[in-house]
């Protein structure tokens, strides 16, 4: 399935400056692999050593966070838009947790 992937600023050094790329993939897992084949280093930025999505990285398929769908197994359809969104948090003190869906479970 051909899908559009929106690339955040910090990753555009890996995509030759491209803010959007078109990728063929059946699900989020294969999308990450396809991206990494074309733009080496992307998988490492998105996934930890165990292959799980990093806590402070969010992937949306259309407007849905894949953490509330099927994570990397989330299927893709032709024409979908996939957005890679950094999770932003911090503060003056203490150990902050990764952002969660507003009103939802962590």
């Amino acid at each position: 399935m051909s899908v559009k992937v929106q690339i955040p600023g910090p990753l555009r050094g890996l995509t030759g400056g491209a803010a959007e790329v078109q990728v063929e993939a059946l699900d989020v897992a294969s999308l990450i692999e396809s991206l990494d084949r074309r733009h080496r280093g992307l998988r490492e930025r998105l996934c930890d050593d165990a292959g799980n999505l990093r806590s402070y990285v969010r992937i949306f398929v259309n407007d849905e966070d894949v953490r509330f769908l099927q994570e990397k197994a989330t299927p893709l359809a032709a024409g979908d838009t996939v957005a890679i969104v950094p999770a932003i948090a911090g503060g003056s003190w203490g150990r902050a947790r990764p952002p969660r869906r507003h009103g939802g479970a962590p």
């Binding site: 910090p10 803010a19 932003i88 911090g90 503060g91 003056s92 003190w93 952002p99 507003h102």
Partner: protein
């Protein structure tokens, strides 16, 4: 980092009005790194909002899309430190290092007693896993 007086004043007002809680927002601009828009965002931190902040990913997704519609992009973020120095904390640094932050601008606004607001600007670098302070130029 260059920012208009209007946008900077909006950030400082937001920071002062939120005291004693941390506030946060998004910095928008075009290529060249000049901030020409600011979006205030709800602090989604529920457990300790006086010392922590969170921007909901779905809020940022919406802001990114709206920015694209106006030919702009997200250049960075701001948050306040109520009665705490205007520099990134170890928490700020650690989370930036774990996320996608290379080259992203972070403004930190110290707010003393809800009145005096002092802004600083920083850029995170993956290479050093830390923040570098940059000059804040106000147009």
């Amino acid at each position: 980092m260059r920012i208009s007086r209007t946008d900077l004043d909006a950030i400082l007002r937001h920071a002062r009005s939120g005291h004693p809680f941390e506030v946060c927002g998004v910095l928008l601009g075009r290529n060249g790194g000049i901030v020409d828009g600011v979006v205030t965002v709800a602090n989604r931190e529920t457990e300790a909002p006086r010392v922590r902040y969170q921007i909901a990913p779905e809020d940022l997704l919406r802001i990114q899309r709206e920015a694209r519609d106006t030919g702009r992009e997200v250049l960075g973020f701001y948050h306040s430190h109520p009665d705490h120095p205007a520099r990134p904390s170890e928490t700020d640094r650690r989370i930036a290092a774990e996320g996608l932050s290379d080259g992203v601008v972070h403004m930190v606004v110290s707010v003393e007693q809800g009145e005096r607001a002092t802004p600083t600007a920083w850029v995170f670098h993956d290479a050093t896993q830390g923040f570098e302070e940059v000059a804040l130029e106000v147009d």
